[in-house]
């Protein structure tokens, strides 16, 4: 499939009073046309910073691209001027933010906010823009759009506001849509509606979506591929089935086992011990090693390279090195692996 975005060896730091925070330490991934890529990880893992770097939304005074490139249609976004970037932002790449309460302007009717990108990027007239705005609102499932475009954000519920934000993001038929925790602030029933809406719209306009979340249930629902981030790096990446049924990195194991599934018995919940690493002084080896019971001696000394598990599955852990000892993953993970043809615990098929 066609690659629409390529992130190559991206390194980015923030300069703070305490020193240099190495927020992204070598991130590589591609985004394919029409796919949904989910990025998961805890706060501070660098998932939001990565997408803000793509959108160039980080303050230039305190952030610095150390190396790497972000290729979009052959252009390196890290090298563009502000003016050039403004032509891409909101038109080719747009973003949905986490909190629909604060990402809309409270003093502007929503119609005006939806037509803004149209007037700016598409060069359509006001009357035409208004018509498109009404169509967009109808598309995202807003009843009576002709009346509602005159209303202000406070007159809408949380779920409706997120629909409006989605309408704005889709106004210019973007090639890439970045959704940063778009449903975290919403209730499960509203979340389900918004996710269904995003999937429908994706089919209609063939956008690629980068979906950031820490809710693994949502990931299983929306993603084609998943990237797991930890300590400023992608530690594992693969198709949604590979990540959920054949995970290789101990951090992915920890994440998957710390969520109770609805059929977990009363067994104690697995909790990853400790806290995320301090990126002011990142560990030189595997950043997860100090929290991992599977850490090898070399994990402390040297950061693991990326090992290839399949054509689409990559993980960065020394456990995949041919000389590494065979370790037994946690019980909950073995249960998952039993469902995956090709894993060493696979049950069923020809045995």
């Amino acid at each position: 499939m066609e690659k629409i975005l390529e992130v190559k060896d991206l390194q980015l730091s923030f300069h703070t009073f305490a020193g240099e925070v190495k927020a992204i330490r070598g991130v590589n991934f591609d985004l394919l046309k029409g796919e949904t890529l989910a990025i998961v990880g805890e706060s501070g893992s660098g998932k939001s910073v990565t997408t803000k770097a793509i959108m160039r939304l980080l303050p230039e005074s305190s952030s610095e691209f150390k190396s790497g490139e972000i290729l979009f249609n052959g252009k390196d976004l890290t090298k563009l001027t502000d003016k050039q970037m403004q032509k891409i932002r909101g038109k080719d790449i747009s973003m949905i933010f986490q909190d629909p309460m604060t990402s809309l302007n409270p003093t502007m009717p929503i119609g005006k906010q939806i037509t803004e990108p149209l007037l700016k990027h598409q060069g359509v007239g006001r009357a035409e823009a208004k018509k498109i705005a009404i169509d967009l609102l109808r598309m995202v499932g807003m009843p009576k759009p002709e009346l509602r475009i005159k209303q202000y954000p406070h007159q809408f519920s949380g779920g409706q506001r997120q629909r409006i934000v989605i309408a704005i993001a889709l106004a210019c038929n973007p090639q890439i849509l970045i959704a940063d925790e778009p449903t975290t602030a919403l209730d499960v029933t509203i979340q389900a509606q918004i996710l269904e809406l995003m999937k429908d719209l994706q089919k209609k306009i063939d956008t690629s979506i980068i979906f950031i979340t820490h809710d693994l249930g949502v990931v299983a629902n929306v993603a084609d591929r998943v990237a797991v981030m930890y300590g400023g790096r992608i530690v594992e990446m693969g198709t949604v089935d590979e990540i959920f049924y054949n995970p290789q990195h101990p951090y992915t194991w920890g994440l998957l086992s710390s969520m109770p599934s609805l059929d977990t018995a009363d067994a104690k919940l697995y909790a990853i011990p400790g806290t995320p690493p301090d990126l002011l002084d990142p560990p030189k080896g595997d950043a997860f090693a100090i929290r991992s019971e599977y850490a090898l001696a070399i994990d402390i000394e040297e950061a693991p390279p990326v090992f290839q598990v399949s054509d689409t599955h990559f993980a960065s852990t020394w456990l995949l090195h041919p000389d590494a000892p065979q370790v037994e993953p946690p019980a909950a993970i073995i249960e998952r692996m039993k469902k995956f043809p090709g894993s060493r615990y696979y049950e069923g098929g020809a045995h």
Binding site: E42, S43, D187, A192, A271, T275
Partner: protein, 313 residues
């Protein structure tokens, strides 16, 4: 069945009562909480689950109804000393660990505030020792006592909130979305801590949350709220395996699970309150369909629910 610790009877909590914008946040709900159990309370935002918790602990004056704790009414006029006795036994852990700790107080003073108010410690040495002990109970260490809240991460702050609640040796703790603000890997740590403390000290919890998979994990029984009403109350397993109220079914069908195969086949049910088709004069109340499983329904629905449940067994 175990002994009742709390008895909530026809609790109503209206805001702006009598005005045009009257809100019936909690509208006539009744349930019991047994000693040593965890009762989960779930529902969408605005359904009244937090208001229920806050009314129980007397943060609001209930509009009507009764809350009995150890057979003593919680609401109504009370003298200062009566209130003190009650305040010691019931504590609360709040949702936002950033907003619920005073940024200008040291951890030592935050945790010891309850000890001071209730006169539980005699000397400053005893006060310090008790705080150190509490910090260790929640998995922090005594060096943390001299720090300020901003020096802690979200998960650590929530541990401080738990330590503060435990300081006065309560019997009953209301945890209002204690883990929603935390990362997944940290959520598990806090939930395990709450479970351990319950076993050790025989605590009773009211656990309010909207994360349904976590609620099922921690709760013995679960109540589902919708628009100020309790619509279903059942043992946790039973509620998930055999949800009877259409709203509960809709809520459960909306939860995404970390399992792609399940997600590909999950069908979401939507809930339409009009589907009940209640006639005028029909009495809608909590009715016990199978032992321990209560559903908010009319007599007519009750009969058909009993039939379907009987055929299931």
């Amino acid at each position: 069945m175990a002994e009742k610790l709390l008895e909530i009877k026809n609790l109503k909590q209206y805001f702006n009562q009598g005005k045009a914008n009257e809100v019936r946040a909690v509208d006539d709900i009744s349930f019991d909480i047994y000693r040593g159990e965890t009762l989960g309370l779930v529902g969408e935002s605005g359904c009244g689950k937090s208001t229920t918790g806050r009314s129980i602990i007397r943060l609001y004056n209930a509009t009507a109804g009764e809350v009995k704790f150890n057979d003593v009414s919680v609401h109504g006029k009370k003298s200062k000393s009566e209130l003190k006795i009650f305040n010691r036994k019931m504590q609360m852990i709040f949702q936002d660990p950033y907003a619920s700790l005073n940024p200008r107080m040291k951890v030592l003073d935050i945790i010891a505030e309850g000890l001071d108010i209730h006169g539980l410690v005699k000397s400053s040495k005893e006060r310090k020792d008790r705080v150190h002990e509490l910090l260790e109970t929640v998995g922090l260490n005594k060096e943390h006592a001299n720090r300020y809240p901003h020096e802690f991460s979200g998960g650590q702050r929530q541990r401080l909130g738990i330590a503060r609640a435990l300081a006065v040796d309560p019997e009953f703790i209301i945890a209002d979305e204690p883990i929603s603000a935390l990362d997944v890997s940290i959520q598990a740590q806090v939930v395990n801590l709450l479970k351990e403390l319950q076993e050790e000290k025989g605590l009773t919890y009211l656990f309010i949350a909207h994360d349904l998979s976590m609620v099922k994990y921690i709760s013995d029984r679960i109540g589902v709220m919708y628009f100020g009403k309790l619509v279903e109350l059942a043992p946790a397993e039973e509620l998930y395996n055999n949800p009877l109220h259409p709203y509960t079914q809709s809520l459960l069908s909306a939860i995404p699970l970390p399992d792609p195969n399940y997600e590909r086949t999950r069908v979401r049910k939507s809930y339409d309150p009009a589907s009940h088709n209640y006639q005028d004069g029909e009495e809608i109340a909590m009715r016990e369909v199978t032992p321990g499983h209560f559903v908010f329904c009319s007599e007519r629905e009750f009969e058909s629910l009993k039939l379907t449940s009987a055929s299931r067994v």
